[in-house]
Amino acid sequence: MHMSTPFEQQYRGATRDGSQDELPVASPKTEDETRELLRFAAEDGLKVLPRGCGTSLGLEEPRRRADFVIDTTQLAGVIAFEPSDGTVTALAGTTMASLAELAAGSGRRLCPDLAHTKSTLGGAIASGRTGEDRLRYGPMRDQVLGLRAMLSADISSKSGGRLVKNVAGYDLHRAHCGGRGQYGLIVEATLRLHPALPKELHLMRRFDSLEAAIDSGNQILSTPCRPLSIRVWHNDDETSLQVHLGGREDVVSAEVLLLESKLGDLQETTSRPLPQTQIRLDGPISRTIDAAHWVEVIRKKAGASHLIADLGIASVCLATTPTSHGGSCQQASIAALPARPKGTDLFGATQPGTSPSAAIVALQSRVATGLDPLGIFSR
């Protein structure tokens, strides 16, 4: 094991007295080493922050207080790959990209299709984020069939399994999905694999206004087409609608004809990478994102360079600029919302005015203690 400082440039933790500081990073190579680190944390009353590749941790607000980081990237490797059964089980530090490649080699598709190639299995589950393909395949939590987490040196917990259907025991993995490493360190997990798509196509059309692009995108939602995503890109120079289709070749061709009959000519394009820095607004479940108006207000106020709205899943992503990164952009976004939809959620942070009831908070806290009884993990 090695303990390394300084901490990665992109993010810093908060120390226990609240000041921002660089944190020591330990990179265990085995589960035994990880166990030792957790023992050390429990004995010395230290708080642990699990980390995968750090691609999402850097975007988290507020920064959490921790004493050291356990970097899981060396806890990597595939444990079981069953393409014919549609499952893959791997250690948490395995990259999602390598799993996607493995799956693709056997005619399977791994979801979510994450934009960042280095993100790890554990990080993808714990950040509970959304792939570009969520409209078709659902959120990360729908892909997780089971997992094993270390809760301390001597306590671990497994739930679910390596099967596509299974209701034995409580679904504790649901707490780890989107749990941001607050309730344990995910060691291994099993994901569902989907059949590969024989044909994929990205189509694009430019619009004069954001409203027109969103209206057209919403029209697609009411057709029988099943796109992987319907995305509106918007900045001062350009507004466009991008539709990602996939499936049997004949099905995709029929969908193109249907879409062209509704939207006019569509241009074939390539998948467009997300900007390097961004914040994401996941609203409540409004398929319509009728919020074109406030979204644009936010973009201007927050100083974001781009707005990217995923229709049908009510997710809006604001690409930040070097001067409007992270917290400031988030604060400006909240302030800018004229009539903020209830439950708007920025990178998991609960917003004022939408706080859950005291009973909910109390139960969440009791569940968290049940999962992490020694209070080792940074919350």
Binding site: E82, P83, S84, D85, G86, T87, R108, G128, T130, G138, R141, D142, I155, S156, S157, S159, R162, L163, V164, K165, N166, V167, A168, G169, Y170, D171, L172, R174, A175, C177, G178, G179, P195, P224, R248, D250, V251, A254, E255, P284, I285, S286, R287, T288, A314, K342, G343, D345, P356, A359, I360, V361, L363, Q364, R366, V367, A368, G370, L371, P373
Partner: protein, 478 residues
């Protein structure tokens, strides 16, 4: 039961909603696993969240155990008491509060019958996808508690993928309003944890569900297999459909004894009586999609030995084919008075091997086995037809059931794909989870229900829920 408690409950919900009469109580003493029964001390039928909360608060002050109950169609003894207590039944909570076609969700009372939800939204071109074969009777609340599946789970997944929010009454009467549909949960995913908790965390009184668009075209296919190897060939067809990545919405297998029972019953579906197995499948989507996928499936089934292939030509024919499948458990009443429905999962590559194993186990115990199952998900239902008045036969049924489960777990499978652990499988849960795993689950259960009054003796062997540092024990409470 303390008279003061009964009087207090009558004051809250009225006399008609409190069942204390011995004869009426009898209908609540078991669920569809009739092998086990135990009379409740009292059954109450609150009409909504407020009444449930007030009742739960009062019951808490008397320290009495609570057993939530939907329609009682569960197959693991989950909805019946094991040591008296109050059964809280949701049958008066059948409201549809809201159908939101734009955002594709509905909010209902927990006691709403599954199929009534689909009826309530069909005019909007939407439906509720999880469709247990018991959907004409079972409740949405029961589906949530058991994380139920159904034939179309192959495409749409189990209940958990369709629940967007809940209103839950905790054992002390506290109400958690988590009903707002959300893209992603905030903090610990309480809704996600509640689904599949088998009535041990609290009572769901309202449910927010996802609705999905009614498919443009649906084609129902029947592949018929004959001869001694017919059932194995049907299993191999399924494994191959999955291996090559075809995506029908449902893939079900019925064996020869089930076919005979169905064809002799009111559910007669026109399955050929000389078949050793039939494969019932459905394909949904756009016309192009359905045509292509159905064509590929038909070809594949033929290659794997299907002797006859049919596609339902009318809605009536389609409904008939499904009535046979959905009525299969009921039809088995013709074979013997009682039915033990086993529910195990195996990797989908091992269907042939595990179906053979279950047949061999039934033969060993000289029992009648009728198999009908969600083949596409690897979810086996080897059903044993027996007479529970015959104690010796009942003993063999229990032994065979346990052996089937052990064999499935040994093959990399699980104890349950949709019916839950309930009371029935407590003794076997250690085959899947270590003491540490069970303790972690136990701590989470205590977080919801510190006094362990919710559905005691179900889902988890409680004595394994020891406090941290205690010596782990694997004893089963029941």
């Amino acid at each position: 039961m303390d008279k003061a408690l009964i009087d207090g409950l009558i004051e809250i919900i009225g006399k008609d909603a409190v069942v204390a009469d011995e004869t009426r109580l009898m209908s609540y003493e078991s669920d569809a696993l009739a092998m086990y029964h135990e009379k409740a001390d009292l059954v109450i039928l609150p009409a909504d969240t407020a009444e449930t909360a007030a009742c739960m608060k009062l019951i808490a002050s008397f320290g009495v155990p609570i057993v939530p109950r939907g329609a009682g169609t569960g197959l693991t003894g989950g909805a019946r008491p094991i040591e008296g207590g109050v059964v809280v039944a949701t049958s008066r909570m059948r409201q549809v509060f809201e159908v939101n076609p734009t955002d594709g969700f509905a909010r209902t009372g927990a006691g709403l019958v599954n199929v009534d939800l689909t009826h309530a939204c069909e005019d909007h071109g939407l439906f509720y996808a999880p469709d247990p074969s018991s959907q004409r009777a079972c409740t949405i609340g029961g589906n949530v508690a058991n994380n139920s599946g159904g034939p179309h789970g192959f495409k749409y997944g189990s209940t958990t993928q369709h629940i967007l929010g809940l209103v839950i009454v905790l054992p002390d009467g506290e109400v958690l309003d988590l009903s707002e549909p959300r893209v992603d949960p905030e903090g610990v995913d309480l809704v996600g944890l509640f689904v599949g908790s088998e009535g041990t965390f609290g009572i769901a009184t309202e449910v927010t569900v996802k609705l999905v668009p009614t498919p443009e075209v649906v084609e129902t296919l029947l592949a018929v297999y004959t001869g001694g190897e017919g059932l194995s060939k049907a299993c191999d067809t399924v494994s191959e459909i999955i291996r090559v990545g075809l995506e029908p919405s449902a893939i079900e297998i019925l064996d020869t004894l089930t076919i005979a029972a169905v064809e002799d019953s009111v559910f007669a579906a026109g399955y050929p009586r000389d078949a050793s197995a039939v494969l019932l499948m459905e394909v949904e989507g756009t016309p192009t999609e359905v045509q292509g996928t159905s064509g590929d499936i038909m070809k594949l089934a033929k290659t794997f030995g299907a002797t006859e292939l049919r596609s339902a030509q009318t809605d009536a024919e389609r409904a008939m084919l499904w009535a046979g499948r959905k009525g299969a458990f009921g039809a088995m009443g013709r074979i013997a008075p009682d039915l033990y429905v086993a529910d195990a999962v195996v990797p989908r590559t091992k269907l042939r091997e595990m179906v053979r194993t279950t047949v061999a186990i039934a033969e060993k115990y000289q029992l009648k086995l009728a198999t009908v199952f969600h083949a596409g998900d690897g979810n086996l239902h080897p059903n044993i037809c027996y007479d529970r008045r015959d104690k010796e036969e009942t003993r063999r049924v229990v032994a065979a059931g346990a052996e089937i489960l052990e064999a499935c777990v040994a093959a990399g499978g699980s104890l349950t794909g949709e019916h839950g652990i309930g009371l029935e499988k407590l003794a076997e849960i250690g085959l899947l989870f270590s003491e540490q795993d069970l303790q972690a689950m136990g701590r989470v259960r205590r977080a919801w229900d510190p006094d362990l009054r919710m559905n005691p003796g179900k889902a988890l062997p409680l004595r394994a829920c020891v406090e941290l540092g205690d010596k782990p024990k694997s004893s089963v409470e029941a």
